[in-house]
Amino acid sequence: MKTKEDFPEINARRPDGLKPEGTPYRVLIVDDSMFVAKQLNQILSSEGYQVVATAGDGLEGYEKYKELFPNVDVVTMDITMPKMDGLTALQKIMEFDKNAKVIMISALGKQDLVKQALVAGAKNYIVKPLDRKKVLERFLSVVAK
């Protein structure tokens, strides 16, 4: 009798993080908290995304984006950060690359901040605490466009 082992590919799902051609989506994480960066890294890596860089504040995030462009597919941006906050960094990145895909991550939700971010060009918004399913869902919706 043939079992699941004989057909390993039948129900296997392609990991979200891989593009149709098989290469991973590249992610830039911008967050001042080591803990959040680590969590995001864990969630994304486990689904096949490749975290190409992490930045600790908005300014560094903007600089890294410019450096790595066009080899970054998605950026995650925390809102409260020292030196340059997430909204300002988002605006600067959008100015630099109007097709940039930025997802805001914050502990604050449902406020004018969300509206401001979306108006400024962010593609989506995730509220902390980070839920694995939610993070992956939002990422999928952003890269799939």
Binding site: D32, S33, M34, F35, V36, K38, T80, M81, P82, S106, A107, L108, G109, K110, Q111, K128, P129
Partner: protein, 154 residues
């Protein structure tokens, strides 16, 4: 502290702790304090601004902080390193932010400042002229106290 502000803090503390610690969380009796408050060993402070000014202080002892950080990171952490500190800071941020969001829905516009974390022995926090509301929380990892001191602006 204004009655309307109390519930959002109590509820957020309960919700966030329940979600990240995945275990039993119990709230103790609320009380007011107005003296130098001895800190248990690890204190994370988030500032509040906007319609009010003040701060929220998360207080716990070192072993509790280590256990909480371990659960949140999914691995056992034994020393008070940068990762543990970042984790506790993040916890403080999440609770305060959720409270602020709830308060926003009630019509109170508060804002947060980036959190700071203090660790040490025999620390004391003295707020001049400020009364603080203490919300004690009991978790499987140990006791945490949430210490909120707010006053209206103008």
């Amino acid at each position: 502290m204004r009655v309307e502000y109390i519930n959002p803090f109590v509820e957020s503390a309960f919700n966030v702790l329940k979600e990240v610690l995945q275990g039993e969380v119990k709230r103790g009796e609320l009380y007011l304090k107005s003296t130098s408050i001895p800190v248990m060993g690890v204190a994370a402070i988030v500032g509040l601004a906007g319609d009010v000014e003040g701060r929220v202080l998360f207080d716990m002892d070192k072993p509790t902080a280590l256990r909480v950080a371990s659960v949140m990171n999914g691995e056992e952490l034994k020393t008070m390193d940068e990762l543990v500190k970042a984790t506790i800071t993040e916890l403080a941020n999440m609770i305060t932010a959720q409270a602020v969001t709830k308060l926003h829905e009630l019509g109170f516009k508060f804002d947060l400042t980036p959190p700071a974390i203090f660790t040490g022995e025999n620390m004391e926090v003295s707020d001049q002229d400020v009364e603080a509301l203490i919300v004690p929380m009991e978790t499987a990892q140990g006791k945490l106290e949430i210490n909120v001191a707010i006053r209206e602006r103008g």
